[in-house]
């Protein structure tokens, strides 16, 4: 399982390099993007695919990173398991909220 975790953490990291560069560029230019323009971008099929991919990969990577941090600093086994589950739940909720928000544009 740990080997899988290590592998997935790296695969998502590599995938995130181009996705983060593009999204960073877009997020920084948000100040110059009008509301109509933003709705047009995010409401398009491409916008939906890119944004959900970005959030999917980044939340997956974030969830795995959090898991390692929790395992390192919380030593009580029961508490550790519960906090990891809670963290995974928050990441899942965040992902589904993103999809719902994008779908309702």
């Amino acid at each position: 399982m740990s080997v899988q975790h290590w592998k997935f953490q790296r695969i998502s990291a590599i995938a995130l390099i181009p996705i983060v560069l593009f999204s960073l560029y877009y997020i920084v230019s948000l100040g110059t993007v009008s509301y109509d323009h933003l709705i047009n971008d995010l409401g398009s099929l491409n916008g939906f695919i890119i944004t959900s991919l970005f959030m999917g990969f980044i939340l997956f990577h974030s969830s795995m990173g959090m898991e390692v941090i929790i395992e390192d600093y919380i030593h009580s086994e029961d508490l550790q398991k519960n906090v990891v589950s809670l963290s995974k739940l928050f990441h899942l909720i965040s992902f589904f909220l993103t999809i719902i928000i994008l779908a309702s544009i």
């Binding site: 960073l24 941090i69 030593h75 993103t98």
Partner: protein, 127 residues
Amino acid sequence: MNATKRPLSPHLQIYRPQLTSVLSITHRLTGFALSLVILLSPAILYFLTLSKDSHTLVMNLFQNGFVKLVLFLAIFGLSYHLCNGIRHLAWDAGYGLDLDSSYKSGYAVVATSLGITFLIILTSGAI
């Protein structure tokens, strides 16, 4: 796990900070902070897309000095985590593991991430 109160190794209280150890813990700190930002991001997305009024509200909030500072810190955190992440991937592939290369790549990561951050701050027209 037994609940002995022995100090954990490495003994950080008496451990002299070095570039390599500081960069390592910074990777974890930025990762943790970025996780919090990304978990909250659906809320920002929601208000940005809800209506013209809520969009204006968020854009005005971004003009606030404190919010701007947090945003710039997040951008630095992201560019640092990205650059240092690439350094980690190179290590995983077996490149640059010796001490000399680790220091050189460490300085390169600090310089590049600071460069990206300043470039973004200057080109975003925020200042």
